[in-house]
């Protein structure tokens, strides 16, 4: 199948969205105090690192940063066959923390469900909040994001690609429409 490509956000656009989200996270949580960011592999972890840098620039303090892989928590192992499982690296205690879970694209919500299960297996956070760069709709579970870069209504057969550059910074968000 061939796709036509539309650029939804360019590099500066992604940067502005992330800067706004960083401000919103700090405003809602009243600073860095008990905050930690956890990105979902393999796009959310890179966005979480970018958010972390921005939070440090704004507040002058760093928030702990972790990454989780949800391969082991998927609910579709039987139908999808073997999916690659990556490493989970959360080098701090989650107990009592306000965790901001970061993902690139929010779609059915099943990834977030799996990620919350993974987090709760690692400890007992005080809260879990959700930050996403793109919310494309079509939720299948009762999950809603707290921080959104861009709401983007899509149809199910369209695809969203978040392109990262060599420094692992998000450079572009593309919408791919299938050509009939």
């Amino acid at each position: 199948m061939t796709y036509s490509t539309t650029v939804i956000l360019d590099g500066p656009g992604v940067g502005r969205a992330l800067t706004r989200i960083a401000h919103e996270i700090l405003e809602y949580n009243k600073g860095v105090g008990n905050l930690a960011l956890v990105g979902i592999r393999s796009g959310g972890d890179r966005l979480a690192a970018e958010l972390c840098r921005r939070i440090e620039q704004i507040e002058g303090k760093t928030a702990p940063l972790g990454a989780i892989d949800i391969g082991m928590y998927r609910d579709d192992l039987a139908s999808r066959g073997t999916v690659e499982v990556g490493r989970t690296e959360v080098p701090f205690s989650l107990d009592g923390k306000n965790i901001v879970l970061v993902d690139d694209v929010l779609f059915t919500g099943r990834t977030i469900r799996a990620a919350m299960d993974a987090l709760i297996d690692l400890g007992r956070p005080r809260t879990i909040q959700l930050a996403v760069l793109i919310d494309r709709g079509h939720r299948e579970l009762p999950i809603r994001p707290d921080y959104v870069g861009r709401n983007l209504p899509t149809s199910r057969d369209e695809k969203i690609d978040v392109i990262f550059n060599a420094d692992n910074c998000a450079a572009e968000v593309r919408l791919l429409k299938p050509q009939v």
Partner: protein, 310 residues
């Protein structure tokens, strides 16, 4: 990632890419073993039967823990407490177990090829946990994992395997695995314990242990399997220990940072002196620890292959 093996019967059937996939997957699972809550829901609802026709503590426990940490239900059947002692054949035992619909059967058997025999006759996945003198793939994989953990890579390593090569399924699986990964394998043991023609599988053969371990990166000692042989292969254990035991002195011939490995259980004072078995170069307990992660990877990977495929 492509992994299309419904059964893990031996290293011989796996490609280099398959081995790398298994080791990388094990790397991801290893982290779970250091958590407070050592359990993930990956294989929830799957049933794993550990069917052990030969004594085993390490391997059976390791597979059982691996299954449980992935939330599968694991059931152990050992020969001494099963209907095997009442005269049931392997095929009948397997058919009866299969009637209860397990997803994976992990089997150890004294007969070489028993796992192939089983895999041809039943629908469940079969993982070989040691069949006779043939193969012991999960042991070879955990050996590779431990070498990669300490040395960074396996390609180009010189690995000396010393002991009863003839009776050792570990040696055979390690030989296949190390060759596929590009290591240089040296096999060493008394002539009575060296199978004829084994050099054709891609190894250098030594009868002098000092030559075999000189400048090696890894020295892997095999257990003298007292239960598997008559007295004809060895005059005495003391003589064996003198010529083929690893001790502080001959270990100096290997590279200074050489790893000392052993599949266990150790005969202290026979193939390994206690100074070496407990010394700074030994990674024997790392092998045991890594065994759980490697077996989690195997259970996970065979589960992902659809039953209709293969």
């Amino acid at each position: 990632m492509e992994f299309r093996h419904k059964h893990i019967l031996g290293i011989n059937e796996l490609s280099r890419d398959d081995i790398v996939t298994i080791l990388d997957t094990a790397d991801s699972f290893k982290e779970i073993n250091s958590r407070d809550i050592k359990k993930v829901p990956t294989l929830r609802g799957k049933t794993i039967v550990n069917l052990f026709f030969e004594a085993s503590t390490r391997t059976r426990t390791s597979f059982e823990i691996a299954g449980k940490r992935l939330s599968a239900d694991t059931i152990n059947i050992t020969a001494s407490s099963s209907s095997v002692t009442k005269g049931e054949t392997l095929e009948d035992t397997a058919r009866n177990i299969e009637a209860m619909n397990p997803d994976i059967i992990v089997m150890r058997h004294a007969a070489s090829g028993a796992c192939h025999y089983l895999a041809e006759r039943i629908n469940s996945s079969v993982i070989n946990a040691g069949d006779g003198a043939h193969e012991h793939p999960s042991q070879a994989l955990l050996d590779l994992f431990t070498m990669r953990q300490h040395k960074g890579t396996i390609e180009g390593l010189t690995v000396a395997i010393v002991g009863d090569i003839g009776h050792s399924r570990v040696a055979r699986s390690d030989l296949y695995a190390l060759n596929k990964m590009g290591a240089n394998v040296r096999l060493c043991g008394p002539g009575t314990m060296m199978p004829v023609g084994i050099e054709r599988l891609g190894a250098k053969i030594y009868t002098d242990m000092n030559e075999a371990i000189r400048d090696a990166d890894v020295v892997m000692m095999l257990r003298i399997q007292l239960e598997r042989q008559g007295k004809t292969l060895l005059p005495t254990l003391r003589e064996y220990a003198k010529f083929y035991g690893l001790n502080v002195n001959n270990l100096k011939l290997a590279k200074p940072d050489a790893l000392v490995m052993h599949p266990g259980p150790i005969n202290r004072g026979v193939e390994l002196s206690s100074y070496v078995a407990d010394g700074p170069q030994n990674v024997i307990l790392d092998q045991v620890e890594n065994g759980v992660a490697v077996r989690m990877a195997l259970l996970y990977l065979v589960s992902g292959v659809e039953r209709s495929e293969v």
